[in-house]
Amino acid sequence: QDCFGRPIASAPDAWFDVVERHSNDGNKTLQRTTKTSKCLNLGSYNYLGFAAADEYCTPRVIESLKKYSASTCSARVDGGNTKLHTELEELVARFVGKPAAILFGMGYVTNSAIIPILIGKGGLIVSDSLNHISIVNGARGSGATVRVFQHNNPAHLEDVLREQIAGGQPRTHRPWKKIIVIVEGIYSMEGELCNLPEIMAVCKKYKAYTYLDEAHSIGAVGKTGRGVCELLGVDPADVDIMMGTFTKSFGSCGGYIAASKEIIHHLKHACPAHIYATSMSPPAVQQVISAIKVVLGEDGSNRGAKKLAQIRENSNFFRSELQKMGFEVLGDNDSPVMPIMLYNPAKIPAFSRECLRQNVAVVTVAFPATPLLLARARICISASQSREDLIKGLEVISKVGDLIGIKYFPVEQEKVASVDKLKKLE
């Protein structure tokens, strides 16, 4: 119980303050104390380091807070559309490589409110088996038939598509009105990239629309931070709808959808989340505008490029070190999300508490976010962590791992040592 919902007392930068809590009744209720401990942050989605006060972003955000106030108190169509919102929509569209974009106040809502508008009864949604629950909710709410294909398996996707197209709609067997295939850029619980080029090829062959959810990958992967499309060499014009959130790499809140002008125009007129919900908070919008400008290098410095190189270096270094130590780490290279498998649910509090005691804060994930026996600790690398921070984190995790016994793979150093011995003999 005390491993979830820990309150923090400062911005989620590389090092942050975690409030200590104690309990009088066996962890049923927890009271906050006034003590905080400074911990290494390996859990926040702070991929590019914009979560802390930034020299370019923060003054502009404070100015917009004074000018526009904390909330627009109105829906986008009524009175909530400020200059900032239109500027951000154009900027996002340009950044991602699509003609137009639309903004929403919350990333979760973006998925669950958009999918019912795009497709309705008589349509088919084929979604990856490990898709985020916001996509699942949106798909269920739309009334279309939903089929699942095995995670990252283009061959199975092709099988499912062939079967469904041949069968047609349930009961009437008429052809489907629309087929949308939904995948994510980086899967948040596995840390692996989606097999985008092959999936795109399958979709093109069977003329299905594609919807790419780049919540974790926008701004974090790719040479200029443009996400999975850039990293894997897929043209953004091929993907029909690209969705993303601003919470992870840009240090703000909210989500966006980028697509062709006609689709965005239709969404603006029909989407209930746009018409009825309060629009994004103006300081949050300004934060994203400044963050994207830094990433693109338009603020006049090359901090954006440095951050992107830093996060790639950090994640590759961390991952390779963890694997050398014998941990089972999921995820592909270049992905800043790395889950360390714990498997046994009893090890979750042990790992979490031990790490906290040694001033490293990690996020542990259990059921229902992952299957019951596949519990894991999820590490999120940030561009604001330096090499020393990472080395300290590695030491602590290694010690804790020995204590708990999660080093499931044999340590690789032995092989290297024996090769050295052979060389010396020669």
Binding site: F4, S71, D78, M106, Y108, C253, A270, I275, A369
Partner: protein
């Protein structure tokens, strides 16, 4: 209310399954699209008779209704623990973004771990949370803002009650004042055109910002289109009288050929 009673009656009579599943009545306190207020005392009576739980959505009445602004339950004098879950968005009275959900401790604890929108979504930016805290503190210390709001709403109602061609269809106490056409032109599209012309002209000529209601294609309920005015405690009396007079003038000119 009669419709709700008959629906509940139909659902529970002779239907064994309804006794085993969880049953909820979901209502909004002030409806965003029509400005009507839900009759909470009757709903609570029905709920107790038929054993349902009530989920009350208070986005527009939180900080508005009730003696100290505590919402619909205070307004009707219903004890707050008869309502099981109250949710509200903070974008209206509290002038921040986000929303909250309250209930008994067990309900809220359950939501913390299993509510999909809470667990799988990023949390509020801290500055919005602190803005909401200060707003609630301010409301507790200065209940005079409520009196201001109420007098403004009453003023607007009396001012607009004799607008040519339009009538007020929202509740007397609701801060969302909803005006709809007395005589509809027959199609929703032309109605909406007329109303939007009124709204645009009012903005251009007198700098009064009002909106015509907009509907999504996903909406299943049929509500009339109208012009919405949102009243604030920050408006002064002269602001409100200016809005009334300009609206009367413009609607007289635009609707003169339709009456």
């Amino acid at each position: 209310m009669a419709s709700l009673a008959s629906t509940l009656e139909k659902l529970t009579r002779g239907n064994k399954r309804t006794e085993k599943i969880r049953r909820y009545i979901v209502v909004e306190s002030i409806y965003q699209n029509s400005g009507q207020i839900a009759p909470l005392d009757e709903i609570v009576k029905l709920k107790e008779k038929y054993l349902f739980r009530v989920i009350l959505e208070e986005s527009h009445s939180f900080g508005v209704l009730g003696k100290s602004g505590r919402g619909l339950a205070e307004h009707y004098g219903v004890p707050i623990d008869k309502i099981d879950i109250i949710t509200a968005g903070m974008g209206n009275a509290l002038a921040t973004d986000g929303g909250f959900c309250t209930g008994s401790a067990r309900v809220v604890d359950h939501q913390r771990l299993s509510s999909a929108g809470y667990v799988f979504s990023a949390s509020l930016p801290p500055y919005l949370a602190s803005a909401a805290v200060s707003a609630v503190n301010y409301l507790e210390e200065n209940p005079s803002v409520l009196a201001n709001l109420r007098s403004n709403v009453a003023l607007l109602h009396t001012g607009l009650s004799d607008t040519p061609g339009l009538e007020i269809s929202s509740h007397v106490l609701s801060p969302i004042v909803f005006l709809k056409l007395k005589k509809s032109t027959g199609s929703l599209a032309t109605d909406l055109d007329l109303l939007e012309t009124i709204a645009e002209q009012v903005l251009k000529e007198d700098s009064v910002f009002i909106v015509a209601s907009k509907r999504s294609t996903l909406d299943r309920c049929k509500l009339p289109v109208g012009i919405r005015l949102f009243v604030s405690a920050g408006h002064t009396e002269s602001d409100i009288s200016k809005a009334c007079s300009s609206l009367k003038r413009i609607s007289a000119s635009v609707l003169s050929d339709h009456v």
